[in-house]
């Protein structure tokens, strides 16, 4: 169970960091952002893929930290990036596990 605790802690820590960071960046009142932030998307993809598919506690923890960082941004930011990251991570997961599934 220890690894799950670590994942959760890193995820929560990442979210908090992301929240702090994005409030530093954007202080204005609420806006629903429509444009796609590529760097954050990359971070998100790396994070989710590492988190789900690495199979190593430390790498997964780092992955969840990154994923949490993007997901935890202030409302209106980082939604699409998170979604893209999650979808790609799931696809990668399925591809990796396919030999096992068949």
């Amino acid at each position: 169970m220890l690894n799950y605790m670590i994942y959760l802690i890193t995820f929560a820590a990442g979210s908090i960091l992301g929240l702090l960071y994005s409030y530093k960046q954007h202080g204005e009142p609420f806006v629903a952002v429509t444009k796609f932030n590529v760097p954050f998307a990359l971070v998100s993809i790396v994070g989710w893929v590492l988190g789900f598919c690495s199979g190593n506690v430390i790498l997964s923890a780092i992955g969840f930290l990154l994923a949490g960082f993007v997901m935890g941004e202030r409302p209106g930011y980082g939604r699409k990036e998170t979604a893209v990251g999650l979808i790609i991570a799931i696809i990668v997961y399925v591809l990796l596990k396919r030999p096992l599934l068949m």
């Binding site: 959760l8 802690i9 929560a12 979210s15 908090i16 949490g68 935890g72 409302p75």
Partner: protein, 287 residues
């Protein structure tokens, strides 16, 4: 010991995040942006560092003692549930104590809002009955009260949700009742400010939020465990997120019922489900 600590931390973190998700879902349904998911967790942590004040009118021993009991009770819940996989009846006892604590934290402050919340906590003793009935039916089908043995039974015969769906519905109603902003949450009606929590400030409130998060996690865990068979971590994660979503939708779209209507609605649904399940068991639909 370490196992208990780890499970408690998991319960707290996961519970807080799920409650945050629940809030987010409700906000999106109501076309509001809503707070970040992690907000609930930050709130709970924040309260531990705030100044604590004690109202002049309180019954001090109870007022302070109750929050520790509240936290302790749900730690016991974690021990009985995810850690030891012990008897369901003890979990039920834990739930009963939780009701008491809720009741007493309302009345010990002397505030009229807390008082009203306390009276309503007594009214809503009705939610126990469906929970019982659900536990009894689980027992009748599996022949055991031990959570570990129930899991083993399900790995052989398939998840219980297929055999006694109405009992699962009863249990689900309890989860709805305990979710924030639910139509049955008469103790936390906004008319009563924050209900029984109104007069608890500072680290006392921190403990309350802490135990609320654990409570939500444990309830979801028990529901998933006894009705959806042996699950792995991903299964639990998906299940909990889905249930938080569903309850969020339900709570966002339903109004709060008046106290006695809420109680009677619960009891009526419970009675219908009870009769249905009893019929299914005794006519032999369920093996």
């Amino acid at each position: 010991m370490a196992e208990i600590l780890i499970q408690v931390i998991i319960a707290f973190l996961a519970g807080s995040l799920l409650l945050g998700l629940h809030r987010k879902v409700m906000a999106r349904v109501q076309k509001r942006p809503g707070p970040p998911i992690v907000q609930q967790l930050i709130h709970s942590l924040k309260f531990f560092f705030k100044e604590t004040a004690f109202p002049k009118t309180v019954s001090k021993v109870f007022y302070i003692g109750i929050v520790f009991i509240l936290a302790l009770i749900w730690v016991v819940g974690v021990i009985v549930g995810p850690v030891a996989k012990d008897s369901l009846l003890i979990l039920f006892g834990v739930y009963a104590v939780y009701k008491i604590v809720e009741h007493n934290s309302g009345s010990s402050s002397g505030s009229p809002y807390g008082k009203l919340s306390c009276v309503r906590a007594v009214l809503s003793a009705a939610t126990e009955l469906p929970l019982f009935a659900a536990i009894v039916f689980v027992y009748l089908v599996t022949g055991t009260m031990n959570i570990g043995e129930i899991i083993t039974y399900q790995s052989v015969h398939g998840p219980l949700i297929y055999s006694i769906p109405l009992a699962a519905l009863m249990f689900f109603m309890l989860i709805i009742t305990k979710s924030p902003y639910s139509p049955f949450a008469i103790t936390k009606d906004k008319v009563l400010i924050s209900g029984f929590e109104t007069e608890h400030f500072g680290f006392l409130r921190g403990f309350m939020l802490f135990s609320e998060a654990i409570a939500w996690y444990v309830l979801l865990w028990v529901f998933l465990t006894i009705f959806f068979g042996p699950l792995n971590a991903v299964g639990y994660l998906i299940g909990m997120i889905v249930i938080s979503f569903v309850t969020g939708f339900i709570n966002a779209t339903t109004p709060l019922l008046s106290p006695n209507h809420s109680v009677m609605t619960q009891i009526t649904i419970g009675a219908i489900c009870f009769a249905g399940t009893a019929l299914m068991i005794f006519t032999g639909v369920v093996a």
